[in-house]
Symmetry: C2
Subunit: 329 residues, 2 copies
């Protein structure tokens, strides 16, 4: 492979001059700059990233740390969209992403994880799917060795940003819409995981809405499980007139139960996954644009790596009714 040395020799300048041209240093004459760039193009020179980062202590390496909740294709769809958005935007920003699943690091100590990322030259980490149980993430943040962006958790400090939609507002919006459309009074709410941030936010939303609108609210924990949601619906749907779910998968479970019971109750979900189009009934849901969220996370990470301070980024959500006709390709 052609090195900076070859370029220097061919262009008749010193190695340091080539480096200066490549890194846009100011004190290089236009003439020299052009001469060097011509040779670079001609020789097809691309700097060796290893050498560059060893020398400069900077790298463009970033990790996407994903917690795979369940091996259902709902989680696949969401994770894949996160990956897609991150990888694409990273390429544009000249970063490269390595994907890591939390399962791969959960039996390491915090020091080991930190060392692992550091030895790989990783300077920034995007985290998705963490819960308050994941002490690793906190240690990663506390270590101060990485710039971090946490998706769907409100962690913000000097070196850490958070990116997410406003889950509380989104839950209120979609529930209000569903309730108004159907003039409901008694709400069955199927919540997510105990220790999740999004679960807490959404739950707070529905509570606030029901208090404000003076609706009766029954809350049960569905743990983001379709089966659990189905069982809960079986048990509590009769005595309520609306089923609000904290995820699409649970909404699908609820809908299946209602079909089995042969009763009608409006159901709404959360996330906007394509699977919703295949269950035969239309349901309201909140669409999160996971690709955009992920793109924004990468951009924010880039900003942090350039020295900007951490902050909270709120992304927009939309209310939709997913129809099969809209998604078939």
């Amino acid at each position: 492979m052609v090195s900076i040395k070859d370029v220097a020799k061919e262009a008749g300048v010193a190695i340091s001059t080539v480096s200066k041209v490549l890194n846009n240093y100011p004190n290089v004459s236009e003439k020299t700059r052009k001469k060097v760039m011509d040779v670079v193009d001609q020789l097809g020179f691309v700097p060796n990233a290893m050498a560059a980062s060893l020398s400069s202590k900077k790298t463009g390496r970033v990790a996407l740390l994903i917690r795979l909740n369940l091996s259902t294709q709902a989680s696949d769809e969401i994770s894949m969209q996160y990956i897609t958005g991150a990888v694409q935007r990273a390429k544009e920003l000249q970063l490269d992403v390595i994907t890591v699943f939390t399962s791969m690091i959960e039996d390491m100590t915090a020091a080991e994880v930190t060392n692992y990322f550091e030895s790989q030259g990783i300077k920034g980490i995007i985290v998705y799917g963490m819960t308050t149980r994941d002490k690793i993430v906190k240690k990663l943040i506390d270590s101060g060795n990485f710039k971090m962006v946490v998706i769907d958790a409100p962690m913000v400090n000097r070196t850490t940003s958070s990116v997410s939609i406003d889950h509380k507002k989104a839950q209120i919006d979609i529930a209000r819409k569903t309730i108004q459309e159907n003039k409901c009074k008694k709400i069955l709410y199927i919540a997510g995981e105990d220790d999740g941030y999004v679960t807490a936010e959404r739950l707070e939303g529905i509570r606030e809405l029901c208090a404000e609108e003076k609706l009766k609210l029954t809350v049960r924990k569905g743990h983001f499980s379709e089966l659990r949601a189905r069982e809960i619906t079986m048990r509590y749907a009769k005595s309520n007139d609306c089923v609000v779910c904290a995820s699409d998968l649970m909404a699908i479970g609820a809908m299946k139960a209602l079909i089995d019971m042969d009763i009608f109750r409006p159901v709404c979900g959360f996330d906007g996954i394509i699977l919703m189009g295949y269950v035969g009934k239309q349901m309201n849901t909140v669409r999160q644009d996971f690709v955009k969220i992920s793109e924004e996370a990468v951009e924010e990470l880039g900003r942090l790596m350039q020295g900007q301070e951490g902050r909270r980024v709120l992304m927009p959500h939309t209310l939709v009714r997913i129809r099969y006709e809209d998604i078939i390709i």
Copy 2:
């Protein structure tokens, strides 16, 4: 960060001795080895991957090059499983994977792509979803700079292996099962893309089966599109008594058409995606274990990087009937 120098000083030996211990060189006494390893553990030393690869010209970096066919969640599910398998197995083999989508490199010249991978220290590439149109992959192979594993394409040479199920046999197996169960005589076959390897293999399979069993065969191209499959079924299902599809998504489209037309025809698909469980009707399909295939691809790449020659690896497939009850969690 703690360097090899620190370890050497602390252990009271030379830098080179530490390196020899770390890289399992033979001529180090057991005593010295232990002394060094103790210090390594104590200091939490992890070698700097940049420096190591710069010096040794070896890296553990591998790329997973994925072609996203459609942005449907069928493709999401499959891609995600490939990524999951690759990333996990790679970690175990001490490799790290960067994910790249073909869309990101398709406007580069072959030389640019090669340079890009080389400058990143990538030594091996796993390719999934290529068609004969993708000249980039051929150039990557021809460049001789990378060890490669191609999933679902029969490219094999000294430095390139292929991994896939036996698509032809799988198509024969699933079609034969469906046809025998329903005693069919006239088969409507909805094929995939014109220029795909798997399409050709599966098509050859169904042709062979129909010739052997003296069945009437009608072939139409569905381009892996649910909508196209639906239209084709609308048009040709009446005059046939079985619909064999080259993908699950097309099978779903076919099934929807049959429901609309209110006629019964056995339908079978290909891939074994979870979505099949949600369409309400049971269908036969071939299950490909994408995670395993991907794991095997990484292992094969590892073998190639250790000097083994390219070969063809055939993975097993299974015939299944996906039921909602089996997949709900």
